[in-house]
Amino acid sequence: MSRKQEKRKGFLAILENLDRVIHSPARLMILTFLYVVEEGDMVYLLNQTGLTWGNLSANVQKLNDAGYVAVKKSFVASRPQTWVGLTDLGRKSFRAYRRQMKEVLDGLPE
């Protein structure tokens, strides 16, 4: 197998193994904004991502189901407040995804 073919095979393997839970623009945004803080509430995510409540809730739920985020609900002055933070697994998976994506993007021709 030529070097070019080997490189192409490696490139495709990375793409095949990309984390599908993270590999969506909305969830990638949510994870990125959670990665740079310890945790944030839903209004923070809404304000930063520009998603709608419904879309945001659905994607946070998917990330929660995958174990990437932890959702905490509380009441402050009788108003509900939802805090979301990355779990250790979420942080680790985000780093791995970032590394893979960098490899893919750096390997692309200009």
């Binding site: 803080v37 944030g40 809404l46 304000n47 409540w53 946070v60 108003r79």
Partner: protein, 216 residues
């Protein structure tokens, strides 16, 4: 909004994202600019009318006690429902810890200056290069304080505020104290509060209140 950072051609620079998030949450509403501008008011009164009731009543600690609760209430009621809340990450927390000694130093310098001026009298106003010593100390403290705040908050406009205030306070010793004209210190107050109000209006327009809470 930072949606433009998320293209598939490049991965978002996390350092930039963190800086922009912090600025969006703490600096885009302009409240801090207004607060810091108002904190300079006592110096203006002190320079403009040293013997008036206002310059005595509006000492820096009293202005702080009056303005800081207002700042906090406005932030809690108007800003936070629009931008949300976070617990900062470790890098930001480390930077913010630096602000504590800076704030402590500012308080010590202010109290020290009051005592120095009261106790030393003539020595406090002994001119150094034509400007009373007390003005040099005050201008220097404000300059370094704002410089460090600018670094902690990633906010270059605070450097401009620091320069304006640091130049205006010793400058007043030359111009306003001798001529009795409106003090130069009003310039940083007008710039800071004016720009802060402009930012606040812009912030309120671009950040409407979210209609309902998700994931209830």
């Amino acid at each position: 909004m930072l949606v433009e950072d998320f293209t598939m051609e490049r991965f978002p620079d996390l350092k930039k994202v963190e800086t922009r998030v912090f600025r969006n949450l703490f600096l885009e509403d302009g409240l801090l600019d207004v607060f810091l501008g108002l904190m300079l008011l006592p110096y203006t009164f002190w320079i403009f009318r040293p013997d008036s009731f206002l310059s005595g009543a509006l000492s820096p600690p009293i202005v702080f006690i009056l303005v800081y609760p207002l700042y906090m209430v406005f932030r809690k009621r108007v800003v936070l429902p629009r931008v949300g809340m976070i617990k900062p990450g470790p890098v930001r927390r480390r930077r913010m810890k630096i602000l504590l000694p800076v704030t402590g130093t500012a308080v010590v310098v202010t109290i020290g200056l009051v005592l120095f001026t009261v106790l030393k009298g003539a020595a406090a106003v002994r001119p150094v290069a034509g400007i009373p010593l007390v003005f040099w100390i005050l201008g220097g403290a404000i300059f370094w304080g704002t410089l460090i705040t600018a670094w902690v908050a990633n906010c270059p406009r605070f450097i401009l505020y620091g320069i304006l205030a640091a130049v205006a306070i010793p400058g007043d010793a030359i111009f306003s104290l001798r001529s009795g004209r409106v003090p130069l210190t009003t310039l940083p107050i007008i710039v800071m509060t004016g720009f802060g109000i402009y930012l606040l209006i812009r912030f309120l327009r671009s950040h409407p209140l979210p209609t309902s809470e998700g994931l209830q």
